[in-house]
């Protein structure tokens, strides 16, 4: 088994066990680890907000993900900032749409 195959199998297993959301991209549902921690936007005194993101299998991420619409549990978002890594998983920071 090649390293990439092992990595892919491990990532599928991680998503299967740790995913807490289903993300719909181009009409297709995918497993995702969804987080939305409290965050302050640092303008003036600051404005309370949250920082939604999903961690997904890199193979499902479109080629130019910035601005791509997606839906999580019925809530619409767009991809604001993709953060690809070399682990076969990609973090997509989101904005409400």
């Amino acid at each position: 088994m090649t390293f990439l195959n092992a990595q892919s199998r491990l990532n599928r297993s991680v998503l299967k066990h740790l995913s807490n959301a289903s993300v719909k991209i181009d009409g297709i549902d995918h497993l995702a680890i969804f987080k939305r921690p409290f965050q302050v936007i640092h303008v003036g005194l600051g404005v309370a907000d949250s920082r939604p993101s999903i961690t997904v299998d890199a193979s499902i991420v479109p080629n130019a993900p910035e601005g791509v619409p997606l839906s999580i549990d019925g809530v619409s978002y767009v991809v604001a900032e993709p953060q690809p890594g070399d682990t076969g998983m990609t973090v997509l920071f989101l904005e409400y749409a």
Binding site: I41, V43, G44, L45, V47, D49, P52, E95, Y96, A97
Partner: protein
């Protein structure tokens, strides 16, 4: 008895609250110390920032002041940039305060504000504009009341 600085800040607040208020009353803050709540798509914060007396007043004579009052405009949006989101609020606040530059005769002039802006985004896009007013007014020499 309140100082003239507090009274002037009150007058700024009252002008922005006068019907129709520039934003709902619960979204107008006075010297707020914490982040603006995320549930508010628009908010205003008003605070006194500096009192600068003209030097050389003769003992007992009135003192001329240049007092800095800061008005901050906040706006969040999910469908437009922070810059565009805050623009209508900036316009409303500016026009409201320009409509009576003496604050009902309380001061000589609030002047035209200096503007600074910042923008940011997390889940929502946010715009912030700081309006710095240099207010000309007087006090008697021995008191800070108007």
């Amino acid at each position: 008895m309140a100082t003239v600085f507090s009274v002037i800040t009150d007058a700024f607040e009252a002008a922005l609250l006068a019907a129709p208020a520039v934003v709902p009353a619960e979204a107008i803050f006075r010297a707020r110390e914490r982040a603006v709540p995320g549930a508010m798509n628009q908010a205003v914060n008003i605070q006194w920032a500096l009192g600068d007396p003209e030097p050389g007043a003769i003992h007992g004579a009135p003192v001329d002041w240049k007092t800095t009052v800061v008005v901050e405009c906040y706006a969040c949006s999910t469908n437009e940039s922070g810059e565009r989101a805050v623009d209508p609020l900036l316009e409303r606040v500016y026009e409201r305060l320009a409509a009576d530059t003496t604050l009902g005769g309380l001061v000589d002039d609030v002047g035209v504000p200096r503007l600074a802006a910042e923008f940011g985004a997390e889940g929502k896009k946010t715009g912030w504009v700081q309006m710095t007013y240099l207010v000309m007014h007087q006090t008697s020499n021995l008191k800070l009341s108007s």
